[in-house]
Amino acid sequence: MADTKVAEMSVKVVKEPSLMTGAIPTQDWWDVEAVFKPGNYCYPGKKSIVEYHNQNLPGIFGEAREWDVESDDWKLPDNWKEIIINGIKERLDKFRSLKIFMDCCVRCGACADKCHFFLGTGDPKNMPVLRAELFRSVYRNDFTLAGKLLGEIAGARPMTFKVLKEWFMYFYQCTECRRCSVFCPYGIDTAEVTMMARELLHLVGVNTNWILEPAANSNRTGNHLGLQPHTFKENAEFLLDDIEEATGVRLQNLNFNRKGAEVLFIFPSADVFADPGIFTFMGYLLLFEHIGLDYTISTYTSEGGNFGLFTHNSLMKKLNGKMYAEAKRLGVKWILGGECGHMWRVLHQYMDTMNGPADFLEMPKSPITGTVFENAASTKMVHISEFTADLIKNGKLKLDKSRNDHQVVTYHDSCNTARGMGLLDEPRYILQHACNNFHEMPENTIREKTFCCGSGTGLNTGEIMDLRMRGGLPRANAVKYVQERYGVNLLSCICAIDRATLLASMQYWNPGVEVCGVSELLGNALIMDGEKERETDLRGNPLAGKEE
């Protein structure tokens, strides 16, 4: 796989499109400037939003101001370079992994063609090795002897505005999906380099609104949309009508902020307001009713997703802390988590060290099967797919698979749950028991090698739709294959960002393929006490054999 030119880091990266000019200018990669044009960058954070964050966590988000990404004056603080270099120093001391990732890349090129952004754009700076090199070159310049002595010859370059622009461009064309790390012989995780670079960018006030505003909303009202408790509750309750229409059963179990419940259920807020997440939410409620789970939902921690993860570890910690605070206030025994991607990344990798151990909670134990979830012994938080798969395994669910016969289903492994926490088989186990027509996508596009939806880490915003489509190409390309080969018309997943962004991706790349959560399919299959003869699924689509 070694790519000699990349290996030498003398990559020529610019070439005019064929026939357009006749000229073929080539330059070394670091001579090529990042040019911002409408459609290739996210809107910067609003002044009011940055002010809001600065009140809560001073010193992390730089100076609040209006600034224009396309201009050459980003209104940076005078000492911005110093802030960044000191920031790198601090992080090198604090995070050993960063130092290792800076030093140990041998530029073998194994990761070069593994990133969905590279595969969809053809831009060499989207090769993970080069992405990290954007950072590493500055590190070399200021923190290695060779870099200090030899400069460019040793691959070192000082921090300049040009470099800053490059960082803003390419660390926001990385969804921190970690696919590259799977192929790296040294396990170098470019996602972590991106996280560090984004933290540094934040320090000098270079940021994006789509991340900062949801994070502000999550802090303020508990969910990224800033829905206030009554609205959140009303939206959720409204879905009971839809459930009744489809199943004939009026659920009585939906409740909020109830002290003394056994389980606190936390899920991505998009599941109560956005299509198709709402159908996943219906699935959760049907499941809980089916097994008589004693649970409650908190309107204070009504967002599973943690937008802090995309900014700075302090904000991530603060937002995450709400889960335990609320579990304590409500006096629950343990926490159940819904179908969310980055919520689980945070939970699995950081929650315990940041805010744990949650000694005030009990070891999670399924009240229905008695299974003790020892894997969650410290965080006390169980994934709904684990929980559901255990119920199925113990024969506790009455299921009629044929109610999903009108669908031909495939499964997209969300990066965060698949690579981030190794949750690979449980969702598949549920799907096998909830539907008859299931087909996997090709081996090199699923499980640990799954391709990102293309819009994670706060890139799921409308102004960069073209870029999102490019990043989403490798995933969509694999879906297309199963669509053509098996007639797949439903792409299931266990992540709210996927549910939102794969929808747009499918509309563009593979019309005819809808997107759903795994719990939605379970909800269709669950045989409820007192139900009517089902004519439609939860979306109101006729079941197989029930078409007009």
Binding site: Y43, K46, W210, T231, Y508
Partner: protein, 191 residues
């Protein structure tokens, strides 16, 4: 030699040149990888380029004038890719014209291959027609992209606007912002 015959006889060589030329619209290092990697899932751009151009070549030179429906079927996925990349519209669809150049260069190098003028005209007319069609396909892709974006905006909001979210009381000048980014409407306090 008749041009049609030449194009069929030398398909392998001409096609490879065409594919290389189109892939050369990407930066060198990318073009190299897109050229080399044969797994269609590990290399969607390379695979789709090769696949579409091969199928189009067969359609173009299998005898009759190519059927537009068939042309659309073989190039659509490929045009879809080009339509969201950083090319200008002209550059995105230039791959049809690239074939003219490749064939012309090929003929120039073959001493005994000087196709008749009429042949050339027929060949160019065919490619021009396909070129026009490809541009229409390109525009359809762009339109589809905007529709997907509109759908995303409207679907994130519809539950809220229907069910009495306070945001529905926001004044009209805020709606311009919501059209850009639905999240704005819910953060009056934070604004």
């Amino acid at each position: 030699m008749a041009l049609a015959h030449l194009l069929q006889e030398n398909k392998g060589e001409i096609l490879e040149k065409w594919i290389s030329r189109v892939l050369a619209s990407y930066p060198d290092d990318a073009a190299m990888i897109f050229q080399r990697e044969k797994d269609r899932f590990a290399n969607p751009i390379g695979y789709n380029t090769r696949h579409a151009l091969t199928a189009l070549y067969d359609l173009l030179f299998s005898g009759d004038q190519p059927d537009p429906a068939k042309v659309a079927a073989v190039v659509e996925d490929f045009v879809k890719i080009r339509a969201v990349q950083t090319f200008t519209p002209a550059a995105a669809v230039a791959f049809v014209r690239d074939l003219k150049v490749v064939v012309r260069e090929y003929c120039r190098k073959q001493k005994d291959a000087a196709p008749a003028l009429a042949d050339w005209h027929r060949f160019e007319d065919t490619l021009d027609a396909v070129s026009d069609q490809v541009f229409d396909l390109y525009m359809a892709c762009r339109e589809r992209l905007y529709k997907a974006r509109l759908h995303e905006i409207s679907h994130m909001n519809h539950m809220l606007t229907q069910h009495g979210c306070p945001s529905s009381l926001l004044d009209a000048d805020q709606s311009a912002k919501t059209a850009v980014n639905p999240i704005h409407i819910h953060s009056n306090e934070a604004r």
